[in-house]
Every structure is written in structure tokens, then in C-alpha cells.
Symmetry: D5
Subunit: 96 residues, 10 copies
């Protein structure tokens, strides 16, 4: 089941560089593991921002919550979630 | 080059049923042709709405404008556009 | 799986009374049937408005879309959807 | 009498972990006691967020204020309140 | 129990004068009857607008809904509702 | 002359408790003195918040500014002001 | 006593030209009479719009309401009102 | 002197095609004449919309108002205006 | 050429009193000098706030920027700017 | 390919002067280099603000992201991006 999640990162501007770098590294590893598992199906950067649009493929709302709430950058993010489903005009079988 | 486009359809409530049906049929054919060409890469319904999230793969802004402005439902839509690019944490090669 | 849906009804003010009454009757029957099936778990009126907060219990996003899009009042509604899941502090076993 | 309350928690990102943990523990105990009393009827997590939707069953506005204002996390919350009442299409007797 | 209700009237600009006058007359009679009953405690015009701020004194949310939904001008209003209760700094005994 | 003022208090979450308590005490004394003078006619708590709705009875805009700007909590408040006047449907002589 | 009023005119696009012209003529006469009386102290066009910023000098809120509500274009306007008073840094004696 | 103007066109969906075509033709001629005069320095389409971003080079606010208010599509537009001036980091001499 | 500028001051609540006082004194001197020069034509306090509405009379956008950007309180302000011009219904010759 | 980017700078008010000056100097050098390369085609100050409107000429979304994300002031900016393309009424050949 797919969810559209937009995440905007707002790190405190006075956060020491190395602390930020460490969190980002954890975030990258976390995101790549989930992509390998097929949970995090798409991850795009919104050009001109520090935000992304992601498409998650999860079993249910609870799994979505678990994945999002454990993002290392979660405390520094503004997040909006939209449940997706198959569009009647979609010709793709693998997109829902 | 990818663009994230969210389209919310607001048909006039007093539009005759057959007129609406005709426009929707044209829209479907239009959307499916573009999907077959690979221009309209993803088309999802936002659950609980008459809106969709789409990912377009076009050569440039002009082609995006041409595709969007010629949507049969264009006059009845609220549309927001976000340019996308590859996210540094994405593991997919085919997603930008 | 639970979804929180807020629906605000905005009927055209020039809609003939009997037309409105007919749609509302269909809406009521539709809503009560879904409540009997357990799909529409809660339906509350927001006091001082023509809006409701509902909790749906559905299998997935697609079923939510199917239920919402077929509401007789759907063309006259502003709708917002939030996916819900179990809260770690909830003591209820039957609330997710 | 029912109230729909949406609470979004925004803890300061520089709050020490143990301080946050202590407040959260108090919050959980506070919430569970009220649920046992039947005051806090529903408590759901909005998936993909640090927010909840709750339904309170209180005698009047004053009691709602007393409960909300004494939430340990109250100083760190954005809160919106909507008074609820029975919906004419609801088939449930115990839902208002 | 007190509720703060702000009502903004938006009559269709093409509504015939006499139709508008009739609804307004019904609205006035309805409002004055409720004021006499003590239900509608305060009714002020927001200067420079076609809106009012009202304070209702009702038994519960359901009674508020009943009063508001039956306002003759209800279909032409944007309404916001806030539950009120006694302020700890208020010196008035009769204001909650 | 009446003014509708909504005040939302946002104290810094890292403000020491005793500092906050002191300001609140001053605020209460200030508010109660003005109520005794008849300037601060109504003071209600918006249930579920740290905000109030107040009705001030002042000679003119300048007096309103003087009262509001000297609130001890003024630096920590979001404030909105609406000028009120007698509503044509009000049956009260003492409410404008 | 001064009030800052911003008015945005939104005439129905299907209003016959002569009807619009007639209302605008009435509006102009109404505005110029009030300016001559000194009630409508300033009237500026916001460049690039069909909106104005006006400064009214009235005895109280009720007079402001009377003037605004009787604007011939009132039913077609979005209006926002801000009460003004003398600024402590103003060097003008005639500006409050 | 430069002004940044964003214009979003919202034609009534029930406007007859030929009426719309006529207004658009007038708009195009009007826009191209002003471009030839150097008043309308830049005119870009916002991709995926029926909106444009324009840069006007005018003598003052009054001239801007005159140009904008006489756009054939003016009654069907939402317009926002921002005054521009030379940026201290700009290397262009001809861009203010 | 006139510009309507609304300025809302938001000083950090932890700014030492004497630092704030010093900046405010500079701001007052700066504002009064510009008023004497005729550049800052009107300066009103919005009653119930720490904000002002000002009307500037400047040669062009660049001069407006220079004046605003050099306000001592500039770093602590939210500012909105609207270009003004003569209203066709204004009877004043000196108001544009 | 052109992009319209609006950037609003919000430096922390407690940032030491010399730190701010250093970042601004880097920003200026960065901006001027890109202007010399033709990537940063227009850079205007929005009068009365610490914001700019810029037009970038880049090969694709990815290049836009690279340029924006590496702005020295990027962590202190609110940024909005709009893809542009040739307007059908534009008479300029070099403006898309």
C-alpha cells in the first residue's frame, strides 16, 4: 500500500557541523536499507530545497508510522502524508 | 527530467453528467497515451479525494507546460508543480 | 486499519430543496449501511457546522477511496484524510 | 459530551533526552489514567507524525480545559479543539 | 456553558432583494427569541463587516448545533466555534 | 466602545518557572484591576488552550493600545483585535 | 479616531457593464462626499489591483460600520479593518 | 523602475469559447505592444499553469496601475505585485 | 511616489532591556528624521499590537529599499510593502 | 531552461556581526561568479525586504538544486521555485 510523504528538513542553524553530519549519515543508511527492502519505493529531492518527496510501500498505517518516526532526522522535519491508491487511468500494474 | 505535479479536479457541480463523462474519457485517453510514451511516469490517486499525484518525465519546462495545459480537465484543475532531481540517498539509478 | 476523515458539506445555495433532500437521504442510507458493515466506525457532527469527523476502518487506501468517492454528497464536499494507527499510550485494544 | 482534540507535539530539539523521556512518561501515565476514567475515550496516532487525534468525553468546557492544560506536554503542543455532537446519520447510541 | 461563535454572512450577490430581506427578517426574529431565552447571551457586529461575534450559553454541544444549524442564514455563513470557560483571572461570577 | 481581542500566550519553554509565575501574577493583578474599572468587560478562557477572548470597553483606539501594550505578558502574546459595535438584532441596551 | 481599511473589489465577471458602471458611479459619489466631510481622510489605490487602502476618521466603531456597510460596492468587497492610534515616534500632531 | 507581477488567469469555465478567444487575442496584442515599448520587459509562463511572471519597467506606481488595470484579462486575474530594485550582488548594469 | 508599508516588530524575548531600549531610541530618531524630510509621510500604530502602518513618499523603489533596510529594528521586523497610487475617487491633490 | 526562485534571508538575530559579514561576502562572490557564467541570469532585490527574485538559466533540475543548495546563505533562507518557459505572447527570442 502506497503513501506519499513530503519531508522538509529544518536543522537548527547553530547545530555543530559534525553533529549534523552524523545524523545525516545515519539518515542515509536508514533510507538506503529501507529502499533495499522495497519499503521506500521512491525518494526524490525537490529541486531548490532541503526537502524530498518519497513514496512508501508498507503493509499499513502502523508500519508507515514506525518507519517515519524512526528517521534520524525526524525531530528536525516538517512532514505531510497522503495515502495513495491506484488511479483509474493508470496503465501500470506495479504502481499501487 | 522529473516533475512532481499534484492536480485537484473541481468540476462545476451543475455540469451535465454526459458533458463531464466526455471530458473524463478524453482525459483518460490523453493520460494513457502519455504513460505509454513514458512521459507520464507515475499517476496515483490521493485516497479520499478527486486529486492525483503524478510524476512526469519530460525534456524541459516547456514540454511540461505543453502536456499540462492540454489536459482536457485543465480548466477545472488546481495544479501545483515541483521540479524533482536525484536524491543523494536514492539507491535507484532509474529514478531521476 | 483506521482513517480520520473530516468532511465539510457545501451545497450550492441555489440547489432546489427537493434535490438536496434526495441527495441527503441517499447519503444517510449510504452512511448507515457502511456503519452496519463496521466500515464507518465513528460519525460525529462538528457542533456549529455542516461538517463531520468520521473514523473509517478499511482494509487499505483503495477501499477508503472507493467509499469516499461514492458518497452521494462527494461532489459538494471538502475532505481531508489522515491515516491513524495505534498510539503507544492507548489502553484500548480495539481502537486501531 | 464529546470534544475532538488534535495535538501536535513540538519538543525543543535541544531538550536533553532524559528530560524529554521523563515528561513523556508523565504524559503516558496521565493519559492512561484519564482513559481508565472514561474521560479520554479515543487516542490515535496520526501516522507519519508526532501528533494525535483524541476524543474526550467530559461534562463541560471547563473540564476539557482542566484536562488539556494539565497535560505534561501541554507547553510543547499545538492544539486544536472541535466540539462534537451526535450526527443525524449515526446508528450508534453510545457515540455522543 | 459558553461558546464563542463568529459568523460571516456571504449572500449570493445575485439573490433578489426581497428574498434576502425575508431571510434577514427571519434571522432577526430567530436571534431575538434566543436572546430573550438567554441562550444567545451576546451578539456584536464586527465593525466594517457583515459578520458578528456571538456568545451562546447552552447546555451542551448538541444544543449549540441545533441553534446554529437552524439559523435562517446558516447556508450563507462561514462559522467558527470556540468553546469557552471561566478564566482564572476573571472577577465575574456570571461570565461562565 | 467595545473591542474583541483574542490573546494567545506563548511563553518560551526554557523560561524558569519562578520567572513565569511572577509575570503571570502581575498579569492577573493587571487584568483584575482593569475589570474592576469596567475597562476589561469580559475575559474568557478558550477551552483547550492557553488563550483568551476578551471584550474591552474603552474610550478609543489609543486607550486600547495603552491597555494591551502594557500587559505583562504582552511580549509573549499573539494578539488579534476586532472593533465591535451594536448589532441590529441585539436586544441588549448595555452591550455596545 | 482613525481606522485603516483595505477593500478589494470582486465584481461578478458576468455583471452587465452598465450595472457595474452605475454602482461604481454611486461608489465614487459616496466616497467623495465622505472625503469632503473629512470622514474618509485618505483613499489610495494599491497599484496593480482593484483594491484600495483607506484611512477613516470617525467618532467610533459604530460610525465606521455605518460608513462601510453602506458602500454601494460593499456586497462585492473583501474588507479588512485595523484600528489605528498615534505612534510614539510620529512627529505629526494631525495624524491621529 | 522595475516591478515583479505574477498573474494567474481564472476564466469562468462556462465562458463561451469564442468570447475567451477574443479576450485572449486582445490580451496578446496589448502585451506585445507594451513589450515593444519596453514597458513589459519580461513575460514568462509558469510551467504547468495558466499564470505568468512579468517584469515591468515603468516610471512609477501610477503607470504600473494603468497598465495592469487595462489588461483585457484583468477581471479574470489574481495578481500580486512586488517592487524591485537593484541587488547589491548584481553584476548587470541594465537590470534595474 | 507612495508606498504602504506594514511593519510588525518581534524582538527576541530574551533580549536584555537596555539593548532593546537602545535600538528603539535609534529607531525613533531615524523615523523622526525621515518624517522631517517628508520621506516618511504617515506613521500610525496599529492598536493592540507592536506594529505600524506607514506611508512613505520616495522617488523610487531603490530609495524605499534603502530607507527600510536601514531601520535599526529591520532585523526584528516582518514587513509587507504595497505600492500606492492615486485613486480615481480621491478628491485630494496632495495624496499621491 | 529558466527557473524563477524567490529567496528570503532570515539570519539568526543573535549571529555575531563578523560571522554574518563573512557569509554575505561568500554569498556575493558565489552569486557574481554564477552571473558571469550566465547561470544566474537575473538577480533583483524585492524593495523593502531582505529577499530577492532570481531567474536561473540551467540545464536541468539537478543543476538548479546544486546551485541553490550550495548558496552560503542556504541554511538561512526560505526558498520557493517555479519552473518557467516561453510565454506565447512574449516577443523576445532570448527570454526562455
Amino acid at each position: 500500500m502506497l503513501f506519499h510523504v513530503e519531508m522538509t528538513v529544518k536543522l537548527p542553524t547553530d547545530m555543530p557541523g559534525e553533529v549534523a553530519a552524523e545524523i545525516k549519515a545515519k539518515e542515509k543508511a536508514y533510507a538506503q536499507a529501507l529502499q533495499q527492502q522495497g519499503k521506500w519505493r521512491h525518494l526524490w529531492r525537490i529541486a531548490g530545497s532541503y526537502a524530498n518527496v518519497s513514496i512508501f510501500d508498507v503493509d499499513d498505517n502502523a508500519e508507515l508510522q514506525d518507519i517515519i518516526a524512526n528517521l534520524p532526522l525526524f525531530p528536525y522535519m516538517e512532514i505531510s502524508v497522503k495515502p495513495l491508491c491506484r488511479h483509474p487511468s493508470s496503465i501500470r500494474d506495479d504502481d499501487s
